[in-house]
Symmetry: C2
Subunit: 213 residues, 2 copies
């Protein structure tokens, strides 16, 4: 299961969708993509199907696949689910936490702090890396995969609220608090911080989307 071209197309398309470089709501044509990326339609189809399975594309009748329009309801649902699900992994995280992993996580935060003018995409990626490195020590693959999937679905929306300089600063503050609570093996507090962290981001994003239809 090592699709080289298929994977390349998959990555490229996902990147284009994240950057809003592709038209929303119109069906993608396999032929056009085949020409654009200079590969046959087989790897194109592989990439499209995978993107569909992950929610980056949705079918539009029998006409093909399209990039779904951004939707306040979707963002609201995704963040509200994350608020409930992500804290569920923290007991296992705290149970198995090591100093090495705490260090790795802190490194990600420092990288975000030091690079003042980070692109929206890079910031989102580093943000996920921070959370992921903590979640991974839990060794609960199902919980982790579910959380990871939710994060992926949120990716198209991040950037609408991370553009505010204010958000970035506050978000980092919450990250450090979370890290401290986990280091102290304080489950209740870490869960409360994470809940608030996700909930706040979700509310800001949802408000923005509702006011910019």
């Amino acid at each position: 299961m090592n699709k080289q071209l298929g994977n390349k197309v998959y990555q490229q398309l996902k990147c284009d969708i994240r950057n809003h470089d592709l038209p929303v709501g119109v069906p993608l044509k396999q032929q056009a993509l085949s020409d654009k990326y200079a590969v046959s339609r087989i790897p194109i189809r592989d990439a499209l199907q995978q993107l569909k399975a992950e929610g980056w594309l949705v079918s539009v009748g029998k006409r093909g696949l399209m990039i779904p329009p951004l939707c306040a309801d979707e963002a609201e649902d995704l963040y509200r689910i994350r608020v409930e699900v992500e804290p569920m992994i923290l007991p296992y995280v705290i149970e198995s936490m090591t100093n090495q992993v705490l260090g790795e996580a802190e490194d990600f935060l420092n990288i975000i702090d030091s690079n003042q003018s980070l692109g929206v995409l890079e910031h989102g990626e580093l943000n996920w890396q921070f959370h992921a490195v903590l979640y991974k020590v839990a060794k609960r693959s199902t919980l982790f995969n579910t959380i990871s999937s939710l994060h992926q679905q949120c990716e198209r929306y991040i950037g609408f609220h991370t553009r505010n300089l204010g958000y970035k600063v506050q978000s980092q503050e919450e990250h450090y608090h979370l890290l401290t609570a986990i280091r102290n093996r304080n489950l209740r507090e870490s869960q409360a911080i994470l809940k608030a962290h996700i909930g706040k981001a979700g509310e800001q994003l949802t408000d923005y989307l509702k006011n910019n239809p």
Copy 2:
């Protein structure tokens, strides 16, 4: 996006996996499946990739895709997530509920009651139909899709606890209670019933799996 053969293979494979008719943990060979179903490898690959995206198959290194072994931790995580997520849709369900949908849902329960000796597969399907018809009126596609995906991932595990005759009776009782609470537009009670309904099933299943390694 209308794969006729691919879809047929997908359905058949999923059915075989659900019925535990296929060996677990060994990589599937595209060639063998191509011979078995008398179609080329292209639709086979489509089906495999879709099944992988939905968690019915997982990669085993670069050797291909295999049916993942059943795992108590996975069942535990899935049900605990469902306990938190599924009640989230009930406010919207109650808000938009109609008598017609209530009737449809009740029909499904009656079908389960009347057919005394229902196969595990059919019972699971009808059970989901009951929940789905209620959830659908909420018109929250993201929440619904997430719930649906979680249900799908649970499907391989159902049957381990639905074989007990006792469970079926109790489950139906809870279904009728849930329906009544929704009919009365009683949000708190309906959420409590649903939470308990899922939580109980999850515990029974997890206990069974932990005792039968």
